[in-house]
């Protein structure tokens, strides 16, 4: 499924279907507005973000000891612990756990890490079937596509397309596209999956060093259905998911769902600590580039991410280019700063998939300076000689602009003026984001709105 095209080329593809782009843009902006309302109704919201960021700074600075403490407590609780340095090692561990129990089928709840590791493909090659149980991920799986958004995996799909997939894979009537009816069909099918699988794998949202418990958040309840009906429960987590104490969950659970979709808390926030009698619990701690990232002072703050998806929903480039154009499991602004750490050459295009408007940093619940990091990656990538010429050109112009506060101010004003009065000047071949579009149309409204609100703050 790896594409050889870069983000700009893939975005160009996505932009050919204007109706879809407008819908995508509007749907994500609507979620961003729900996030805003929810944040404004929460007292001390900014202090909460500050606290979350500070807790994560502490985690990053003391990760070694927390990992050891977490491991000790897991063992005390009767959980088996494994360490994996990369995808291959992680996948082998999962395979060996399943093989020991002669398990041929597994159900999985949302886990971006196992997507990144291509676990499903690895197990399928070895005769083990995996079913993704989050509805959006299930839809993506039957369509043989990766998720396009970390929280809303099939946000780029229209209901008619999903209806068609269900017709093909679940035998629904042709033309059925009503979301409630389709969900009911999936419910019936997936409940049967939960009841018949002996093994369940989940991701981890937060892992508490103090107690050895880990917390998994869903709205659907799929992680719990799988885990509580399984005889073998596996959790895969990146090293950075650690938090020091149970009470810190209060801070993160208040922020997560509000930042993600404007909901006061996910419907299910499940604290897994010990296996049920007769059940096995396994937890895999995965490095996969994290310890390397710790060594990069300019970029290590990206390890604070709690995967809320807020930066994607607000990003004008993401909204108009779709998650799949980032050709990386984690797309959007956060994907664009995490991916180059793993493979700078392959992901050299991603830090350029941004207007550097800063909207991502403004919504991020753990205050990662995302747009600063995007800018720093650009410099790094150019220095290493990985950037394509067209991007180097924009990049150099951008670098010049940003290096001088005066030019920056003027450029900002000019940019805004141009956008309002002469969109064709922005719509030129040096600006890939406007390639398919002559004039900003209705979908432009939200960008305009955003611009009016945030542009004036500069």
């Amino acid at each position: 499924m790896k594409s050889t095209l870069d983000h700009a080329a893939l975005a160009e593809e996505f932009n050919k279907d204007e109706e879809r782009v407008d819908w995508h843009d509007g749907a994500l902006w609507w979620i961003r507005q729900k996030r805003d309302r929810s944040a404004h109704q929460t007292p001390q919201w900014e202090e909460l973000r500050e606290a979350a960021s500070a807790i994560k700074s502490n985690v990053i600075s003391n990760l070694h000891d927390y990992l050891i403490q977490f491991e000790e407590n897991l063992k005390k609780n009767g959980v088996k612990v494994y360490w994996a340095s990369d995808a291959e090692e992680h996948n082998q561990i999962v395979y060996s756990i399943l093989k020991a129990k002669e398990i041929k089928q597994m159900v999985k709840s949302k886990s971006m890490l196992t997507e990144e590791c291509h676990l499903n493909e690895f197990l399928e090659e070895r005769g083990i079937e995996v079913i993704n149980s989050d509805l959006g991920e299930y839809i993506q799986q039957i369509d043989n596509e990766p998720p396009s958004h970390i929280v809303l995996p099939c946000i780029h799909k229209r209901k008619e397309e999903i209806g068609e997939l269900f017709h093909e894979h679940l035998g629904t009537e042709k033309g059925l596209s009503d979301p409630t009816l389709l969900t009911r069909v999936a419910r019936k099918h997936l409940r049967n999956v939960f009841l018949t699988r002996r093994a369940a794998l989940t991701g981890v949202n937060f892992a508490v060093a103090e107690t050895g418990e880990y917390v998994v958040c869903t709205n659907e309840g799929n992680a719990d259905m799988g885990a509580h009906l399984s005889e073998v429960q596996i959790a895969s987590m990146g090293l950075e998911k650690i938090i020091p104490e149970r009470k810190h969950l209060g801070v993160f659970l208040r922020l997560l769902a509000r930042s993600a979709i404007g909901q006061p808390i996910t419907i299910y926030s499940s604290h897994y600590k010990k296996p049920r009698p007769g059940q096995e619990m396994h937890l895999i701690l995965v490095d996969k580039g994290r310890s390397n990232l710790l060594a990069r002072p300019d970029f290590r703050e990206s390890l604070k991410c709690i995967k809320c998806g807020g930066c994607m929903n607000t990003c004008p480039v993401y909204r108009k280019s779709g998650g799949l154009s980032y050709h990386n499991t984690i797309s959007g602004p956060i994907g664009a700063i995490l991916a180059p750490n793993l493979d700078m050459k392959q992901h050299a295009d991603l830090p350029f998939a941004s207007t550097l408007c800063g909207s991502c940093s403004n919504v991020c619940p753990v205050k990662i300076p995302i747009h600063d990091q995007l800018y720093k990656w650009r410099q790094e990538i150019v220095k290493q000689g990985y950037s394509a010429s067209r991007k180097t050109f924009s990049m150099k112009a951008m670098a010049l602009t940003l290096s001088s506060p005066e030019i920056y101010k003027t450029a900002g004003k000019t940019g805004r003026w141009l956008l309002n009065n002469a969109p064709f000047a922005i719509n030129n071949k040096f600006n890939p984001w406007y390639k398919q579009r002559d004039m900003p149309d209705s979908s432009q409204q939200s960008f305009g709105e955003w611009y009016a609100k945030n542009g004036s703050k500069k």
């Binding site: 500070a54 990992l67 409630t180 309840g221 659970l253 299910y268 926030s269 897994y272």
Partner: protein, 194 residues
């Protein structure tokens, strides 16, 4: 060196100088009326809220609102007039046909409508997730204002599994259209008692 040692050594070498944890005791919200706030928020997220007053009244409400011919399970011995008492030794897979599960929460959280349950009140870990409809008894005095207050009550309590549940199972994965009842409960009712 083993993978574990390699990773730990790299982390130790690369992690920056220690930065202090923040003081989170500053997050205090003084809600005038936590019961009202809880009720409003829970209804707002798609839950059904009933001020029942007492367990006796809950029985009448269950009789009125749910089909007695279907399987109703509870972990509360006081409710066996209207429900079958959950058998802790049953295979969790046999709970697939449970229409309604009635359990009591340790506490409710006003800011988000969620209730806190641990496996000892669930009977079976899977019960509140697998049941078609979920009913939770919440004592008014157990309602706290925020998640911070909830965790100060939970403190260092030991459990094998615990969870906040904040409404019926839901999804919006198909075109952002909200559908209640993704895999788990199609509805969640909270019965408030004094």
């Amino acid at each position: 060196m083993s993978t574990r040692e390699n990773i730990l050594a790299a982390v130790k070498k690369n992690q920056p100088a220690l930065s202090a944890l923040p003081d989170i005791s500053v997050f205090k919200v003084h809600e005038e009326d936590v019961v009202k706030k809880y009720s409003d928020v829970f209804a707002g997220i798609g839950g059904l809220l009933v001020s029942a007053g007492s367990l006796e009244n809950v029985k009448d409400l269950i009789r009125k609102d749910f089909d007695q011919n279907k399987r109703i399970l509870t972990t509360l011995p006081d409710l066996t007039d209207v429900a079958e008492l959950s058998d802790p030794d049953a295979d969790p897979h046999t709970l697939e046909d449970v229409e309604l599960a009635i359990i009591e929460a340790h506490l409710g959280v006003a800011e988000n409508g969620a209730v806190w349950l641990t496996e000892d009140v669930m009977g079976h870990r899977v019960l509140p997730y697998i049941t078609q409809h979920l009913a939770v008894i919440v004592r008014e005095e157990s309602i706290v204002s925020t998640m911070h207050d909830a965790y100060s009550k939970i403190a260092s309590e030991d459990y094998g599994f615990g969870g906040f549940i904040g409404g019926p199972s839901k999804t919006a994965d198909i075109e952002q259209a909200l559908v209640l009842g993704a895999h788990g409960p199609l509805s969640m009712t909270v019965y408030l008692i004094k």
